[in-house]
């Protein structure tokens, strides 16, 4: 498989929705350590709303529109920090896709770059601030490198998922600078970032989706 086609996108969002439904309590617990425990709620709501949107009126739209609509749905359904950032990411990523009918590795590189940059701009966070950006940026970089190397979609998405997992692990060494976790300062060291965990799950689900589509 060389690319994800727009008619496959609803299936991808079904995966996202199912994953965040399944991780609801785990994310509540994770956010509860240095935050306000809402992340499991907001992410399950966010991706349920995104799925409903993409499965519904926009099942046949182009990929760019699907992604933007997913972003719009998330921004209404879950306007917390992560909800708003994920909404911004899908909106900007979708814009970068314009009216593309399919997403190949180069397209995914562009999508994730726009996604990560949108989040950085909206959240005014720097790399190393222990936020979702510290996982999103490595995902974008992985797809960019794979696109430059002309890698297959299956390979690229596996590499990106691995990069996300590593990046998430690396957030443990960082000290939170933003949001509710920042109040914990040094105490946040040793804990993986909650928002980064969400980004990692996105990369994982995307990869699992690609692998399943191949098989």
């Amino acid at each position: 498989m060389q690319s994800i086609e727009s008619k496959m996108v609803p299936g991808l969002f079904e995966r996202f929705a199912a994953r965040f439904e399944a991780e609801r309590d785990a994310l509540i617990a994770l956010d509860g350590k240095v935050g306000d425990s809402d992340l499991g709620l907001t992410m399950s709501k966010a991706f349920k709303a995104a799925r409903d949107k993409v499965l519904g009126e926009f099942a046949d739209a182009d990929i760019g529109t699907q992604m933007k609509q997913a972003g719009g749905a998330i921004s209404k359904a879950a306007p917390s920090t992560m909800g708003t950032l994920m909404a911004t990411g899908f909106l900007r990523g979708g814009k970068a896709m314009a009216e593309a009918e399919a997403l190949d590795v180069a397209g995914l590189a562009a999508f994730w770059r726009a996604y990560a940059d949108g989040v950085a701009q909206r959240g005014k966070a720097q790399l190393g601030d222990k936020t979702v950006l510290d996982v999103l940026d490595p995902i974008a970089r992985a797809y960019e490198a794979q696109a430059a190397a002309g890698a297959e979609l299956e390979v690229a998405s596996a590499v990106a998922a691995k990069a996300a997992a590593d990046a998430l692990e690396a957030t443990k060494d960082l000290v939170a600078q933003h949001g509710k976790a920042a109040a914990f300062q040094e105490k946040s060291r040793g804990l993986q970032d909650a928002g980064g965990t969400v980004a990692c799950m996105l990369a994982e689900e995307l990869n699992a989706f690609v692998q399943a589509a191949k098989g």
């Binding site: 809402d38 709620l41 921004s75 306007p79 920090t81 708003t84 509710k180 109040a183």
Partner: protein, 333 residues
């Protein structure tokens, strides 16, 4: 979880239905219960809009009313309203003189208010923003921009509302509100957690004899967790933090807000206030205004906060102005 509820997911909207039933002086716009606005906008007046998560009544929406706020975006429990909702509220509230956003310094809220202001720019509505960051415990001196907003935002609302009621222009209302912001400090302490209805269990654990000094209103940790001390000692420790960052001259005046977090009875707030008054008296500082009760809560959380606004000649009459909202009525004396 022991709460009077129907379905947990209906908590916010049913609360709003109850509020609209009880208080005809407020209503909603854009067919969205969560776009909460005054029923009586004042033509030509700068609109004051706030917004933030639910679970803090009377904050935030409770201060929409005469001489205070004009609209409020209502989020889920402890969650920001959406940018769309804030934009709708802004459009309703704008009476040609622009709109001031006054809300607490939380990432989710900042991003959504920023997005809203971009959206209403397309409608040629001018906005300005002041974000409350009164919580001394949430970051050190020099890093005040990282501090979160808590109960002290009440003083910003009071000043902004009274300034707008005088029909001052947006820039002036913003300047005055910004001044109130820079002169407001809050310290809080919590004794127990609260339960978000859709989560169903407490956000943190705290021992039967422990208190958390500086805890945030969503349960964010504070400066220290220790054995619950005598009321006077708790106040002393909190006020020391506030005094440490403010230069008071003899004869200076302050306004004080003694705020219960929800589960702490008024009886205790008065016992605590007694000590605050004593400390102020020892410093030669006059308490010109005091409000005591529940202003910014965390549902059933036990605990309280002390907010101090260092008055000056410009702020004092604004704080002293009468106000009348469904949740807060004050006769000017």
């Amino acid at each position: 979880m022991k709460k009077f509820l129907n379905k947990p997911e209906d908590f916010v909207d049913e609360m709003l239905e109850g509020i609209y039933c009880a208080h005809p002086e407020v209503t909603y716009t854009a067919d969205d219960l969560r776009c909460y606005v005054t029923a009586n906008p004042v033509p030509g007046k700068v609109g004051i809009v706030t917004g933030g998560g639910s679970g803090h009544l009377p904050t935030f929406l409770g201060f929409v009313g005469k001489n205070m706020l004009d609209g409020c975006g209502v989020g889920g429990v402890f969650q920001s309203p959406s940018a769309d909702q804030l934009a709708e509220v802004t459009r309703y509230v704008d009476q040609g003189a622009g709109v001031l956003y006054v809300y607490g310094n939380y990432t989710g809220d900042i991003m959504n208010f920023d997005m809203a202001s971009e959206l209403v720019e397309l409608d040629d509505i001018e906005t300005a923003t002041v974000t409350g960051n009164d919580d001394v415990a949430s970051s050190v001196v020099g890093e005040e921009h990282k501090r979160r907003g808590v109960a002290g935002i009440f003083f910003l609302y009071k000043a902004a509302g009274a300034a707008a009621a005088r029909m001052l222009p947006l820039a002036e209302v913003a300047r005055i509100t910004e001044k109130a912001r820079s002169r407001t400090r809050t310290m809080g302490v919590a004794l127990s957690a609260c339960i978000v209805p859709e989560i169903g269990k407490p956000g943190f654990e705290i021992g039967e004899d422990e208190m958390e000094i500086g805890m945030g209103i969503h349960g964010e940790p504070g400066i220290s967790r220790k054995k619950l001390a005598a009321a006077d000692d708790v106040v002393d420790e909190m006020m020391e933090r506030i005094f440490a960052e403010t230069d008071y001259a003899k004869g200076d005046e302050v306004a004080i807000l003694m705020n219960g977090l929800g589960g702490t009875p008024k009886e205790e707030l008065y016992i605590l206030y007694r000590r605050v008054a004593k400390l102020m008296d020892e410093m030669g500082v006059k308490i010109r205004h005091v409000w005591l009760g529940e202003f910014a809560t965390s549902m059933e959380m036990a605990g309280f906060s002390i907010s101090v606004l260092h008055l000056d000649n410009e702020l004092e009459p604004l704080i002293a102005a009468k106000a009348d909202t469904p949740f807060f009525s004050y006769f000017a004396k």
